[in-house]
């Protein structure tokens, strides 16, 4: 397959309708489009080199949240994440997202800052080869109602196939510690998330959520249910580290939980500082959740379900 350069990216041929429009792709591209039951699906036989992708661009209003959604599946032999690059009034940055061998819907929130043109690029990272498909790329303004709901797109994992759409492994981790498993005894549903906490190279590995939209000065609650094969202590970190890079004081809050052998609910509250001078990271109005083993040398498989991150 011909090597693609960064500039060999697909361009959007049509202006975006901000009320969740699909992206249309340019014809001069390695992504081939196929009409499947009325839905345009794009596929590429990726050779593992370069950063093939596609990118929408929108004009954003000031002080708004936007959500990018797309579906993707990958038959690559490795577990390299996909990346969403963003460029707007707040700067440039990248967000990594998981990708699974089955169709899943992925999403990411971004804050428009002062508004104006906002570029998104969804691209593959070099590594293993394999066929990758994508469809239903949408960008939409996030409603007030959605911002007051569960900001995790698939908190009960019922819509995640293969691996959870909201959670990404720690970048240092080799292998695939996160999976979607059949749920036997949770409240409802067929799926739970399983995380195998296993130290690697002396480090306690973890997982992290996507960037979640927050309003400085407000309080948010992260709820989750968990159980383990034995009592196991985890750390849950709520922190602000925007894709544009860190500045100023790092907002970081750690809570520790002892997970038991029975399903129990756990929750933490995070009060987002309103002082953007001290915490300039919060100008991007996002935080993310990280979950890791509290002890570096302990390993255990922990099941999670019914996770939510909501404003109180």
């Amino acid at each position: 397959m011909r090597k693609l350069s960064l500039v060999s990216l697909l361009s959007m041929s049509a202006a975006l309708n901000l009320a969740a429009a699909s992206v249309s792709l340019n014809a001069n591209t390695e992504w081939k489009s196929v009409d499947t039951e009325g839905i345009k699906t794009y596929a590429i036989d990726y050779d593992g080199k370069g950063w093939p992708g596609f990118f929408p661009q929108v004009d954003t209003g000031p002080g708004e949240f936007y959500k990018v959604r797309w579906m993707m599946k990958s038959q690559r032999t490795g577990d390299e994440p996909q990346t969403l690059a963003i460029e707007g009034s707040l700067g440039k940055g990248t967000l990594n997202c998981p990708v699974s061998k089955e169709w899943n819907t992925y999403s990411a929130y971004v804050f428009s800052g002062n508004g104006g043109p906002f570029k998104f690029r969804i691209y593959l990272n070099p590594g293993s080869a394999g066929k990758v498909e994508a469809k239903n790329v949408e960008v939409s303004k996030v409603s007030t109602e959605e911002l007051s709901g569960n900001l995790l797109s698939d908190g009960d994992f019922e819509h995640s196939a293969g691996s959870p759409v909201d959670w990404l492994k720690d970048g240092r981790v080799k292998g695939s510690p996160i999976s979607i498993v059949r749920s036997e005894d949770f409240i409802s549903g067929e799926r739970s998330m399983a995380v195998e906490f296993k130290p690697q190279d002396g480090n306690a590995i973890g997982i992290q959520s996507p960037q979640l939209p927050v309003e400085p000065g407000k309080v948010y609650e992260f709820n989750f249910w968990a159980k383990a094969g034995r009592e196991f202590v985890i750390n849950v970190d709520t922190q602000a580290w925007p894709p544009y890079g860190h500045k100023g004081t790092h907002f970081w809050k750690r809570d520790t939980f002892k997970i038991t052998t029975e399903w129990k609910q756990y929750s933490l509250k995070a009060s987002i500082p309103s002082d953007l001078v001290q915490y300039p990271d919060l100008a991007a109005k996002t935080v993310y959740i990280g979950i890791s083993a509290a002890a570096k040398d302990q390993e255990e498989k922990v099941l999670f379900d019914d996770m939510s991150f909501k404003r109180l």
Binding site: D156, E158, D185, F186, I187, S188, G189, W225, E262, K264
Partner: protein, 1015 residues
């Protein structure tokens, strides 16, 4: 006995084997006297004016074997039956019953019956024998249809019952054909003692009676255990050694300490003897009831119904004379027992014969006879009880075989016409209305005769079952006028509406009130068979509230309300089943305390039968031959001692189906509380000190008030009162009534589980798939937020659903599910509450059938089709029927060719208790194709407005078609619960039915419906 007879008897004794084992009858040879036997007699005042009960006695002057026989004296020619202790047989097997009998006269007819009543069915294989002056063995072989049988031996027949004595010996029931006689065991034992003692007596004297039936000496150890009949706990035990020669009988005296109020078995068991059979003794321990003068209009007291079996009327008895039932003791002794219990009021004539029935009082026109009633009044008065006669009873119902009115009166009465729609089927066509002037005369004569002895008269028994309100009020008004004229101090108790046998209390009361009938009574009576307890579909207190509201709306000073009958005290068993009548002490207490707590004037629900322990025949459906005061008797004694004269003060609900009534008696507060629901492991926490309170069980035994104030609910009520101020401690003070009430109000009830699920989780269509509607109740005393999901075999909950259920409230949540199979296996509800998951199993049935517009379905050989537009739901039928029923006016719709439709406009509605009961969103529709034009549809719309429903039918050879159109606006929602049933009848009655979804129970179970969705 002469010399020759004695030789013969001795010879017979030598011949007859006394090997033990095959005979099932206890004390068959009467070597232990009459232990294990009970004898009922109807005492005749004409031949036995003192009403002396002469019961069977052991006789050592004559016998077949052993030393004793049983002599039954019958010098007064009284109808009698002797019952043995029951034996356990194998149904379908052949047995032979045999006994030796002789009399002091020749040609005495004796009927011997193997008596069994099981689940309402009688089996009574019988032979009549002619008994003479010589001992002779009689037998017959029968096949057991049931498990438990007793011997029942009676004298005489319709040809006569002479005065005589009858002797019995060597009763036997053995497998197969007749065998030589043998006792049932080598050693037989029983315990004898007084049947009723006062706790303050401190101890009970009893005797352990033993006999050695074998040909060998016997020695062994024996244990005497005193066992609480309520909870099975052993309260006393003693070991004995015995040594008995062959044929020897011994009596071992024993003193038993009395530890508390209750009823107890005295059980003897042998240690070391293989062939041993015993009958436990039985006694009840009560408190001393102090009889005070009471005013029935002011003092709530213990009362009983004493109808069926109490009397036998002249025209029903073998002897042609009336008689008083006596069981193992005098009638006077029976009343003495009731008096010790604390009974103060007897309602005469609930069922069966009444001392004041018209046919007893005026057997011939103008000839009034009150002897039977007079005796009843005298007996009752002597023992401190008042009698409330029921004048008229159910006398107006006169089935051809057993009329209730005397014949002369029936001939003068008018047959009821028209027949009211609401009366019971058995009364239709059998009700005769006597002339009013004769009715007035009967009332006037009776009341005049009883003046000063009777203070209250009830007018008719359950008249709503056989009269319309108009008809009843005519007789009530007349009776009331005659009562006031003859005895101005006497009170008229009227209406007596019943919920029994399908009767509707509200409808009848409303009918009477609308016709201004209230002034014709001083007291309103009712029978709450359709609201037996607080957990009934119609809770007892709700029914009382409803009646009170009806009365208050129409009167400034509401008439007092009396519960004058309720034979079945608890919800659940089918009416008239044996199980329904087997009440426990807690049922008695709960009904009494509910009626008192709800402000009723009197409560006299039960007949006397449940007061006696059926020791000899516990598996017989009627307590016909027992007179041992039981635990029920002790419960009533406690109620009489503790609650007589109490006044209701407050009613507290702590949630989780618990109740607390607060009363005041003699200036002191008193409370009763219990768990009337099904939730187990409930605990009550009271903020109180043991130094302030006294806690009792339902027999009146004091229980230590727990230091932590936590009381665990059991099946029975608790009683609570304040501790009296200690006279020697000037600093001590008794808790005031106000503080007592406040303390109880602050009580907290907690369940082991925070939620309880209902019995009827149900699949309903939702959004093109299914949801499982789970009803549940919050068992905590606070609002409870949470989530619910479901899991199980063959399905998975698609998502969990959030909820907040109010404190002690209930919800029904539709949980979307994915069905993996048509018949899911065990399913559980999963509740996420307070950070934990609770898993509760659900009872489910497979999803009902579902029809969408355009779908068709079969009902037997007929078909049904559904269509829908934006305004109307149309259901079409094509019915195959080659034998048209035609139409007969007055025939119920389902007893002719008919399509029945059942519609539930709110199928998602579900409740924890009784989810199957119809709501006001459930309607029934009957389509009768052969009815005249304009009468082809009968609607029972419930609360739905189905005035826009149209029906079109067409008949043809081989069947008929029907189209039913229902406006969607009347139904609402996106679908309905639905069932269709096609009834196929001939010209007489229904022959078969074909159902679409249910198994024929749709008329009473809305959960058996399938569904129709509108899209």
């Amino acid at each position: 006995m002469n010399y020759i007879t004695a030789i013969l008897c001795t010879a017979l004794t030598a011949i007859i084997s006394v090997q033990a084992g095959e005979n099932l009858v206890f004390n068959s040879g009467f070597e232990l006297g009459n232990a294990g036997y009970s004898c009922t007699k109807y005492l005749r005042p004409d031949t036995n004016p003192e009403l002396k009960y002469a019961g069977p006695v052991a006789d050592n002057a004559t016998r077949v074997t052993g030393k004793l026989s049983l002599r039954i004296p019958n010098r007064f020619s009284e109808e009698m039956q002797l019952y043995s202790r029951e034996v356990c047989l194998v149904p379908g097997r052949e047995y032979t019953a045999s006994l030796w009998m002789k009399s002091d006269i020749e040609h005495l007819v004796v009927n011997v019956i193997m008596f069994s009543i099981a689940k309402g069915k009688w089996d009574t294989p019988r032979r009549d024998f002619e008994v003479g002056r010589e001992w002779k063995r009689f037998s017959f072989t029968f096949t057991a249809a049931h498990e438990y049988y007793s011997f029942r031996v009676g004298m005489g027949d319709r040809n006569g019952l002479p005065a005589c004595d009858l002797w019995l010996d060597n009763l036997q029931i053995n497998k197969g054909p007749l065998r030589d006689y043998e006792p049932c065991a080598d050693i037989e034992a029983t315990t004898t003692s007084p049947n009723l003692v006062l706790l303050e007596d401190g101890k009970l004297s009893c005797n352990v009676e033993l006999v050695n039936n074998s040909a060998n000496a016997s020695s062994a150890k024996m244990a005497l255990d005193i066992i609480n009949d309520g909870n099975g706990e052993k309260s006393f035990s003693k070991l004995f050694d015995f040594n008995l020669k062959p044929g020897e009988r011994t009596s071992i005296p024993c003193q038993i300490p009395l530890n508390g109020y209750g009823a107890y078995l005295a059980q003897t068991t042998s240690i070391g003897t293989q062939s041993f059979n015993s009958l436990p003794g039985y006694f009840a321990v009560i408190g001393n009831y102090e009889r005070k003068n009471i005013d029935l209009d002011k003092t709530f007291c213990v009362g009983l119904n004493n109808g069926s079996g109490y009397f036998i009327a002249h025209d029903r008895s073998l002897t042609g004379t009336s008689g008083y039932l006596a069981v193992d003791h005098d009638v006077d002794a029976h009343f003495a027992l009731l008096a010790k219990m604390g009974c103060r009021l007897i309602r005469d004539g609930a069922s069966g014969c009444s001392a004041f029935s018209w046919r007893m009082c005026e057997p011939k026109e103008g000839e009034f006879k009150f002897q039977i009633g007079d005796r009843l009044l005298e007996l009752s008065e002597r023992h401190g009880m008042k009698v409330m006669p029921i004048l008229g009873g159910s006398d107006f119902i006169n089935p051809p075989k057993e009329p209730n009115l005397p014949e002369w009166l029936k001939n003068k009465s008018k047959k009821q016409d028209p027949i009211p729609v609401d009366i019971i089927q058995t009364a239709k066509g059998n009700v005769y209305l006597p002339p009013l002037e004769l009715w007035r005369k009967f009332i006037r004569e009776t009341v005049t005769h009883c003046k000063g002895k009777v203070s209250h008269y009830e007018i008719m028994n359950e008249p709503n079952l056989f009269l319309s309100p108009t008809e009843y009020l005519e007789y009530l008004k007349a009776a009331n006028e005659e009562i006031r004229g003859a005895d101005p101090k006497a009170k008229t108790v009227g209406f007596c509406a019943t919920g029994d046998l399908g009767g509707n209390v509200d409808n009848f009361m409303n009918g009477c009130i609308k016709q201004k009938g209230l002034p014709y009574a001083d007291i309103v009576s009712f029978h709450p068979y359709d609201a037996r307890d607080l957990k009934a579909i119609l809770p007892a207190d709700k029914q009382i509230d409803g009646i009170k509201a009806m009365l208050s709306e129409n009167q400034e000073n509401r008439l007092p309300l009396w519960n004058t009958e309720l034979f079945f005290l608890f919800s659940g068993p089918e009416h008239n089943s044996y199980e329904a009548g087997v009440c426990q002490p807690q049922h008695i207490a709960m009904r009494f305390l509910t009626d008192l707590g709800e402000g009723l004037g009197q409560s006299l629900p039960l007949p006397h039968q449940p007061l006696w322990k059926p020791l000899l025949n516990p598996h017989t459906d009627e307590n016909i031959c027992n007179s041992l005061p039981s635990a029920n008797f002790v419960a009533y004694n406690a109620l009489a001692r503790l609650f007589e004269g109490a006044k209701p003060l407050d009613k507290i609900r702590w949630g989780n189906d618990t109740i607390c009534y607060v009363y005041e008696k003699d200036g002191r507060p008193l409370a009763a509380f219990w768990n009337y629901g099904d939730t187990k492991e409930l605990k009550l926490k009271l903020e109180a000190k043991s130094s302030d309170l006294q806690l009792f069980d339902l027999f009146g035994n004091e229980i230590s008030f727990p230091e932590d104030g936590i009381i665990k609910f059991g099946p029975a009520p608790f009683y609570l009162t304040t501790k009296a101020k200690a006279w020697f401690n000037l600093l001590s003070s008794e808790m005031s009534t106000t503080n007592f009430d406040a303390m109880l109000k602050n009580g907290q009830v907690e369940a082991e589980l925070p939620v309880a699920v209902g019995t009827g989780a149900r699949f309903v269509p939702q959004n093109g798939g299914w949801a499982l509607v789970v009803p549940f109740r919050n068992c905590t005393g606070r609002d409870l937020p949470g989530k619910i999901g479901v899991r199980g075999e063959g399905l998975v909950g698609a998502e969990s659903v959030s909820f907040t259920v109010p404190a002690n409230g209930e919800l029904a949540i539709a949980v979307p599910v994915k069905l993996k199979t048509e018949t899911p296996g065990p399913v559980s509800a999963k509740f996420a509450l307070d950070g934990k998951i609770w898993t509760l199993p659900l009872k489910i049935k497979p999803p009902g059938k579902l029809l969408r517009p355009g779908d068709s379905a079969r009902l037997g050989s007929s078909s049904m089709n559904v269509s829908c537009n934006d305004k109307t739901l149309k259901i079409s039928f094509a019915v195959n029927d080659t034998s048209p029923s035609g139409y007969v006016a007055g025939r119920e719709p389902w007893e002719q060719d008919c399509i029945e439709l059942f519609i539930d406009a709110n199928p998602e509605f579900n409740q924890v208790k009784y989810p199957e009961t119809y709501t006001d969103k459930v309607a029934r529709l009957f389509v009768m194709p052969y009815a005249p034009e304009g009468q082809r549809m009968v609607l029972k719309p419930g609360g739905l407005d189905l005035s826009g429903v149209t029906v079109a039918t067409a008949t043809q050879a081989g069947g008929y078609t029907a189209e039913v159109e229902i406006p969607l606006a009347a139904l609402g929602g996106t679908g309905i619960g639905f069932e269709a049933q096609i009834d196929d009848a001939d010209t007489v009655k229904r022959q078969s039915s074909a159902n679409w979804n249910s198994n024929g129970d749709a008329y009473k179970n809305r959960l058996s419906f399938g569904f129709i969705t509108f899209k």
